[in-house]
């Protein structure tokens, strides 16, 4: 990795400023918080997947000593809202969820809430609430939910479909006519959970004057504020959402509001005490999940591998409310086969279907994971059938640097270009390092333990949401220069574990000319002072928030130089800052420290010293405090490729992932340690998604069978490959901070098809539905 830009802090393996705290106990989690007089809230959850609530008797619960308040549907606003945070406040998605309703639509849906003096009492009280249900027909299978005569699940949608998009271009019929071969396959993905480690929890504190303060393990202070204001009819400016120092993981789950937060506020309003509402792990598992989908892909190709036509049909299981389901379905196609390779004749149709399963949430790589599994598995099938090289096939159909951005082009043609785009190198370098071309023909290795290598690529992804309809993309930052020569950075971006604290400090330090440890992240912030930005999601932080940080830092730097010029009686253009010292270029003896400059701006105009009376300049006085709030210029793509070597035990069907090689063009790497960490974490989630994680439910009652870590199988350190090779191709993105682009999601988008293709290479069997379990492999091998 070269350092073409000659950066001093950006590009280094700066240690995380928050790491010391986290290895000595971890003080900053909202989970640690207690407030004086705090009560504990708990929700009663539905036993049935679809039922009308005929009556709720809370009398026994009310009598339990320590119970302070109980809420049912009649005690809370009946206003419907859209729970997801990513939509613009002014067009915020389908409003079909209520805090508490008289109909329940999935097993585990909240129907009442209790506040009590201890958690044990609250849990006891919940058990004493008596509910009379009238069961209604329920649908766990998407196809059943849209059959003729199916019962309507959601008030807003008669036919249990909440979105049926049709997007097309070119001439599909002609495209297929031109093809020498047509491939049509259906790939299906399943329900998995994000498994953030810090439980979903909040503490709401409503004061007598109507103001509300809320602490929450959330990925978005503004979304939480906006939704609470809307649901509870409280002015936005009367709600303070305290920004957490950092949270213990989110991965997208925490980019929506649940019933817990409004209920906590109402309980606090009624009792006059702060109310803490936290999920048990069993409850966390059923908050939201990756949207299960069936993707049918019909692709026309010529003998030479040119793609002539693409027809994509996606059906998605949203659960009973739209939530993130329609979004995920759109991205599956529009971040998948509809755009990722060049093809003029294409059509996407979809059905976002409502069922009585758990709610669809956002999970890292939303929709893209499902789309990539289909697209990249099918490419493998095409190449195997037509005896084409998988790398050359992809390159033949690939976009090029300078092309219009195919994803944003769907909505705003010509608005953005692929400025930095080194997709080819990702494929070639990844292939070379992994030994991909040395792989054996599929299923040809001898012995019962068979090895294989597979690959998959994601040619396009996003760095934030510029260009997408109804999804805001802007960031802000506040930089304050302190009298001790440090800079305080205040940003709305929440560090969910990926290292945003570190990245932003590095960007600010680089821009300001300070040493890495001279930028301090401000942890004491709230929605009251912070500039607006969307959630920490969509691989946006480095690119979008990073740009805002750089901008604010740049302004602060200008001001520092102005003051320094005044103090040194020089021209500010002749000055530079290095490691906290401001020099006249070429004359290091003429210098001031940033500390001295900041002290001067905050000190008296007239100062007495033993020798003289010093008078400064009035225009120099005042804290150096700069803010920026702006949208980034573009939505650069971050192509990648993953190569996976597996070993399949064909007696048991077990798959071991031996080695992973991953090549990614993320522009300038701000912090190599963090970047590698993102990839390594994504490999764990990718292996889990592909081979072992699976949210499963009782098919009669809808009760979750896998709501604990014994039954929900997540990879431990033992199941991980011994080597994960990260290759970062550092294109320089002109619109990115120091050339950087996004990173967070792409490494999780590619593992599933890479592993599936590796399993095929090892065994000769193709599995098109996830997870790829030992049973599926043995069945395909006709051993079961």
């Amino acid at each position: 990795m070269g350092n073409k830009l000659n950066t001093r802090v950006v590009g280094t393996r700066m240690r995380r400023p928050d790491a010391l705290d986290k290895v000595t106990g971890g003080r900053g989690y909202v989970f640690n918080m207690k407030l004086n007089g705090m009560l504990y809230g708990k929700m009663l959850r539905s036993m049935y997947p679809h039922a009308r609530i005929l009556s709720i008797d809370t009398s026994a619960a009310e009598k339990l000593p320590g119970v302070k308040s109980i809420l049912t549907a009649k005690d809370v606003p009946s206003k419907a809202f859209a729970p997801i945070y990513i939509k613009d406040m002014y067009s915020d998605g389908v409003r079909d969820v209520r805090v508490l309703d008289n109909v329940v639509r999935y097993t585990g849906e909240p129907i009442a809430a209790v506040a009590a003096t201890t958690l044990d009492i609250a849990e006891e009280a919940i058990k004493l609430i008596d509910v009379e249900y009238e069961e209604l027909p329920h649908y766990f299978n998407m196809h059943d939910a849209i059959r003729e005569g199916a019962t309507q699940i959601n008030r807003e949608f008669e036919n249990n479909i909440c979105l049926s998009p049709v997007i097309e271009e070119g001439d599909l019929e002609r495209g297929f006519a031109e093809a020498d071969h047509i491939f049509e396959n259906t790939y299906s993905t399943h329900r998995v959970h994000t498994c953030y480690m810090e439980p979903w929890m909040s503490i709401a504190d409503a004061s007598a004057d109507g103001k509300v303060t809320i602490h929450s393990s959330t990925q978005h202070v503004f979304g939480l504020r906006e939704k609470l204001a809307y649901i509870l009819d409280i002015p936005l400016s009367d709600i303070s959402v305290i920004k957490p120092h950092y949270i213990g993981g989110g991965f997208g789950s925490k980019t929506e509001i649940s019933s817990a937060e409004p209920l906590a506020v109402i309980l606090s309003q009624k009792t006059g005490k702060p109310v803490r509402m936290e999920n048990s792990r069993e409850e966390d598992f059923i908050t939201n999940a990756r949207t299960p989908m069936e993707v049918t892909l019909k692709t026309g190709v010529k003998n030479d591998g040119t793609i002539t036509a693409r027809e994509i049909h996606v059906i998605a299981d949203c659960g009973p409310y739209a939530t993130y389901g329609p979004e995920a379905m759109m991205i599956c196609a529009l971040g998948g086969a509809y755009t990722t390779y060049r093809c003029k004749n294409r059509k996407f149709t979809g059905q976002a279907i409502l069922t009585n399963n758990m709610r669809a949430g956002a999970y890292r790589g939303i929709g893209g994971v499902q789309g990539c599994f289909a697209t990249e598995s099918q490419i493998d099938e095409i190449c195997e059938t037509l005896n084409l090289d998988p790398i050359e096939f992809r390159l033949k159909n690939a976009h090029q640097a300078g092309d219009p951005n195919p994803i944003t082009d769907v909505f705003t043609p010509g608005a953005f270009k692929l400025e930095s785009y080194r997709y080819e190198e990702c494929l070639r370098e990844g292939s070379a390092q992994s030994g991909f071309h040395k792989r054996m023909p599929a299923g040809s290795s001898q012995g019962s333990k068979k090895r294989g290598i597979g690959m998959a690529s994601q040619p396009l992804w996003v760095s934030g949401c510029v260009g997408f309809p109804d999804i805001p993309e802007q960031s802000g930052a506040i930089v304050r220069i302190n009298p001790d020569g440090t800079a305080s950075l205040s940003i709305p971006t929440i560090d969910i574990g990926s290292g945003q604290i570190t990245t932003m400090c590095q960007i600010a330090a680089e821009e300001l000319g300070l040493k890495a440890d001279q930028v301090k992240m401000n942890y004491h912030l709230s929605s009251d002072i912070l500039p607006f930005e969307p959630p920490t999601h969509a691989s946006r932080a480095t690119y979008s928030a990073g740009n805002a940080v750089k901008k604010a830092a740049s302004q602060a730097k200008q001001r520092i130089l102005e003051i320094a010029a005044s103090m040194l009686e020089a021209n500010s253009e002749d000055l530079e800052i290095q490691e906290g010292l401001v020099f006249v270029k070429g004359v290091p003896a003429r210098r001031l420290s940033v500390a001295e400059i900041a002290q001067y701006t905050e000190s008296a105009l007239v100062q007495l010293t033993p020798e003289s009376i010093k008078k400064g300049k009035i225009e120099d006085k005042g804290t150096i405090l700069c803010t920026a709030s702006a949208a980034p210029q573009s939505n650069p793509s971050t192509p990648c490729a993953m190569f996976v070597e597996v070993e399949v035990d064909t007696d048991t069907g077990e798959v071991s992932v031996l080695e992973v090689t991953y090549a990614h063009d993320i522009g300038k790497v701000i912090n190599p340690t963090s970047a590698e960490g993102q990839v390594e974490g994504a490999v764990q989630q990718g292996i889990g998604f592909t081979l072992m994680e699976h949210m499963q439910f009782d098919q009669d009652t809808g009760a979750c069978l896998t709501s604990n870590f014994l039954d929900y199988k997540m990879p431990t350190a033992v199941e991980m490959p011994s080597k994960i090779n990260c290759i970062f191709i550092e294109s320089i993105e002109p619109t990115g901070p120091f050339g950087a682009k996004g990173l967070g999601e792409t490494p999780l988008i590619v593992p599933a098809p890479a592993i599936a293709n590796a399993v095929y290479n090892a065994t000769g069997v193709r599995i098109r539905s996830l997870p790829i379990t030992p049973e599926k492999i043995l069945t395909a091998l006709e051993k079961l």
Binding site: D18, G25, G26, Y29, Y246, S280, R281, T673, L710, A717
Partner: protein, 156 residues
């Protein structure tokens, strides 16, 4: 009915009133105000609650507070000496083994038993020693690297 018990935590003695069903985890956090042992699942499935009892890693969420009397309980707060971090804590910072950090305390305690018992730098053994702890952010790679570096330094 709460009963008075005495717990010895990080070399300090505490007299606590605890109900028979209260777990060591909830007592450590809620009564002694320790941040490091964390609730991740309350079921011995994730390891975020791992502490030491007499030098051995245990799931504090699965242990009744009453069962922990007459034992030496050690949490992450007790493994550093004043401002001097334990080599594992240093290594975790140095190698980038901490992302969201929620699993970190539990993993440090598991790794500490491994190192205290002379665990070697062989990667497979290190991975096995971490099998009772889940992490969702790091993929374990830099955690393994950190433990390995401490094991290697001990041998050296």
């Amino acid at each position: 009915m709460k009963q008075l018990i005495t717990l010895k935590v990080n070399n300090d003695q505490y007299e606590i009133a605890a109900n028979p069903w209260e777990t060591l985890l909830s007592v450590l956090r809620d009564q002694l105000g320790l941040n490091s042992p964390k609730r991740g699942c309350d079921a011995g499935g994730c390891g975020c609650c791992t502490v030491h009892i007499d030098g051995g890693a245990v799931y504090s969420c699965m242990m009744f507070a009453h069962s922990a009397q007459d034992c030496e309980i050690t949490t992450v707060e007790g493994i550093s000496k004043g401002k001097s971090l334990h080599p594992l804590q240093e290594a975790f910072i140095d190698k980038g083994a901490v992302q969201c950090g929620y699993c970190t305390s539990g993993i440090l305690m598991s790794a500490k038993q491994y190192i205290d018992e002379g665990g070697g730098s062989e990667e497979k053994q290190i991975r096995q020693s971490l099998s009772g702890n889940l992490c969702r952010c790091t993929g374990y790679q830099k955690i393994v690297d950190a433990v390995k570096s401490v094991a290697e330094n001990k041998i050296a």
